[in-house]
Point group: none
Chain length 212, copies 4
DNA sequence: CATGAATGAGGCTTCATTCAT
DNA sequence: GATGAATGAAGCCTCATTCAT
């Protein structure tokens, strides 16, 4: 289905992907019917099957696009930092804002991860994100900045914290006017937690939150 | 559907819940047909509707039971500890082992959380887990053991780390002979991360992983 | 299923017939489930099949009982009158009151008449009612009191008027305190219409409603 | 479901309505399965749901169409007459012929009237027919042609007679070659009964049936 | 390219009836 | 006599996908 598309075709395809993504995110894969997508767009069903092989194919393309987009944002954010710990901070911050700006894709990714059918695809993307993080962790350890733990587990933990706080803070906030503030707050909480954990730094009891 | 059940009936119901849970966990809610469940059990389709109002009802009961079970394990684990930080550790450890022992229910909960239909139910359970954790965090902060941060966000972060590591380590390990070891490993990684975070404790550079 | 019944058994049977009749009348034959009937009575399903061969059988028994009851009332009402025209009036009046007093059975009979399955049974009862009316009509014609028309068609017309007015007046009134008055009103309207029709009796222009 | 239909689509819809009406009339609402209708037409099950929201919806559309058709015939018949009593006669005659020509719709309407679900719809149509008749009755009373009775009750009685005679004469006759004659006979009997009732007009003992 | 129309497998659920206890 | 439990055929409806126009 790597059809050569006219500009108008490319536009159509984009509109379909976007509409479909919103429906999938809201209702889930199965409850979303192809009819609902095309009706929402006011086109016939043939259009859908002109651009996608199947509903499954459409869903996958959305996932791949979303992951590519998130990864690109992370890469850009990290590019400016030299300190390994700050690179991690920047990655968390960028991720959090992307998740806040693309709530429906966030929901979609979480959803796809639990679906037998799409889990491998999502997992691949997550492993890539872990892999992207590993060099910074290793560098941090080598520099004596980060604790000497299994870097892979650390990366997983970082992603887990980011995810959980995004869910708790960002999704709850909806897209009201303070959505950006919620993302900031979630990002700083995630960064703080990942840096220092729970325990008081006994050697430095005045320790307060360190602006990342 | 709170039918009065004979012992035999109660047994049937339990078998249905278990079979259904495994199917749901493996295939997801929609791809699992009621027919598949009852066929697997070798009973007629009517049996399912004798014990449950609907497929939806059955799914919910599984979720509620699972959450109740997980919460009970956490409560028991925490009961023996007096130190707030150790209570948190114990909770993480107990959760991780429950997740390892009930992989299919773990998968089910993650799945339900992403489904519009069941998300509120799951969220309620998660909020309860957060609420269960708050007192320990507050006590820890009051005792000067834990950092003075928003306790709710800390609780969310802890659950996020536990979840992520369970997914990465426990689910990957499958249920081979070293499943218990995997759970231990994941639990200790989670505890360590939650306690100290990423950064080297500069005041105490010898800092190594603290056996929980 | 002409089982010998103990007194308690006869009582059970009567209760079943009554409960079933009300459900059938309200919801119709198919939408009424055997489960609904026995649940309403607080007994097990076995009871139903102890007293009736099938749902169909139960329905028929209700119909037969109802028709027997209506016919008995008509017979009693007619017994006291000697004038043929007054016998017809009395029959109309008695029918109307029975229909008002047994609204659910009225509804049931109307319903059964339109059901392929039970229509023959109901038709038989109606033909009997027509047959019961014929002698009075014939006597009236012979006595020069009634118009010389096909007696069968006249009988059908009389029943039609009674039915239509019962539906319009009696069923609409529900079973409020003025239900009896509504039945009276409907009966007198039916009698009046059947006696004189629509046209003004030109020979007697003072003609007003004649108390039946 | 007010879909924009192509000519071919409109034709399909009509065929579905007709086939469905015949099945419903013969077997009743519940015993008629959607499968039976589409099989009879030799189309797939989806076709039915392309044109109707549900079986219920289809049934209602048939009812509404039938009532509209009957009412149109009555209106046309009445249009040519100026004398109020003759308008009523013409209405009876037209109704009787419509009922004879559309026996299955007649059966359907009678059936629907006894079904909780559709009764309101049918009742609405009947009240309209009553309302259509009222002006003629009132005009007749005002002109001193008709007896001074509650016009509404008179209208109901007229419809009741028509209905009953249609059932007795027209439906019994089937659709043999003398079906038209049966309708005529039933119509004249109804008209005669409605005009004069049962009693001999004592002032005019020569009184015979008046050709309407 | 696009649409209205069609397909038909398959899903959830109901329910009359039977039966072991 | 009675009940809870079970059966399984059958019904309504959905929906991914295809195709003629």
């Amino acid at each position: 289905m790597s059809r050569r598309l006219t500009p108008r075709g490319a536009e159509r395809r984009r509109a379909l992907l976007d509409t479909a993504a919103r429906h999938f995110a809201t209702d889930g894969y199965h409850p979303t019917s192809v009819a609902a997508i095309v009706d929402d767009l006011g086109v016939g069903k043939g259009v859908f099957y002109w651009y996608f092989d199947s509903k499954d194919d459409c869903y996958r393309q959305i996932l791949v696009d979303a992951q590519r987009s998130l990864r690109a944002v992370q890469r850009d954010a990290v590019a400016d930092e030299h300190d390994p710990a700050r690179r991690i901070d920047a990655g968390i911050r960028a991720s959090m804002h992307w998740l806040a700006d693309n709530r429906h894709l966030f929901a979609l990714l979480e959803q796809a991860r639990t679906d037998e059918r799409f889990a491998p695809l999502v997992r691949r993307g997550e492993q890539q994100m872990v892999a992207d993080t590993l060099p910074h962790i290793r560098a941090g350890i080598a520099a004596g900045l980060l604790r000497r733990e299994d870097p892979e587990l650390l990366a997983v933990a970082i992603l887990g914290v980011t995810d959980a706080l995004a869910r708790a803070v960002v999704l709850q906030a909806g897209d009201g006017p303070d959505a950006g503030a919620a993302a900031d707050r979630a990002a700083e909480a995630a960064i703080s937690f990942c840096r220092r954990g729970l325990l008081v730094d006994e050697a430095d009891p005045r320790s307060e939150r360190t602006p990342a």
